[in-house]
Subunit: 185 residues, 2 copies
Amino acid sequence: MRVSRQKAMENRRRIVDAAARLFRGEGFDGVGVDAIMKEAELTHGGFYGHFASKDALMAEAMAHAVERSTAWQERLDSLSELVTGYLSDRHRADRANGCVVAALGADVARQAPALRRTVATGIRRQVDRIVTLLKHGTPAARRRRAIATYAGMVGALTLARAVDDPALAREILAAARETFGKEAS
Amino acid sequence: MRVSRQKAMENRRRIVDAAARLFRGEGFDGVGVDAIMKEAELTHGGFYGHFASKDALMAEAMAHAVERSTAWQERLDSLSELVTGYLSDRHRADRANGCVVAALGADVARQAPALRRTVATGIRRQVDRIVTLLKHGTPAARRRRAIATYAGMVGALTLARAVDDPALAREILAAARETFGKEAS
DNA sequence: TGTACATCAGTGAACGCGCGTTCACTGATGTAC
DNA sequence: TGTACATCAGTGAACGCGCGTTCACTGATGTAC
């Protein structure tokens, strides 16, 4: 049964959005086209009217997720706010709506160039954003510091999620918050 | 055709070793039982004489990889050596023989408790190891610093591998080496 | 030490299932008059 | 503005392939005498 062009565009957006969440939550291989379409309240057959392949959707979903997460942090205006939010227990528990790199980091390295380029763009933007939140040092030192801070954030969240011991997970997040949350002079 | 008990044990070890490398290189879902057995120079049918399931091998392969990487770093005796080696271009390019957490971090979070517990043990050991390399500060401060340093190492390697731009990858590794390689007072 | 038989590590065909993808079909939408 | 037809978004069955797992079989190893 045909659907209005506007509704079709909305459906497409819903598929990308569902994919962006499900991929982060379960990994690229952990989610099938069928599950994504079901999440978007459609049937799997219609998928290929919107996308050339699952790979194509993966790339588009990553672009969507990167866009969203960048938009989200525009509102933050201090390093400690950014770090505290990123290294929160809430973010640790909610892979599906969180940072793409922490949710899919190792998987991204094995994906097609187009997808990796998209993620690289997101990383660059995140680093630039942190640079603007740093107040001390030369531009080069601030950039270096921003990269190390972002690396620390991603690594701490990855470690906290990998570990099965809640106490250790909390300790990791707390240690990283204290280390990366304030700008050491 | 039957094989001596000693040879059978050696075969089992070869399967675990091949699995540890292949899983890190291609991800848990990226490698099949067939590929692992072929890498170990056996046929896939014999697999279930050694292991109850692919999941069981995954857990054992992680234990093996954690053991090996811990043994490897025993030889290092300074923080800068450890950090420089970890954040080298060689390690970035060689996922299959490198750090388990950087190679499979996000995937580990989705695995069975037994596997996550094994990885947690490896993480604890790595943190303890870094603590012994730190010279300044109270025990609590050193532990905090060790966790943050390990997080920075894992995150930087993850970012460098995710990115498709070699120049950016090198910049990330260099920034992290400078930041985490020397013990800030 | 040698022989006869039981054991069992490894082989390769086969099974069942899930997943990515295709396709004939449906019926509401969009358009031409 | 209303009617007739073409278009095409979405449906659901089906296909083919790969993967985890099973199983009957093989033949060298291990053991009992």
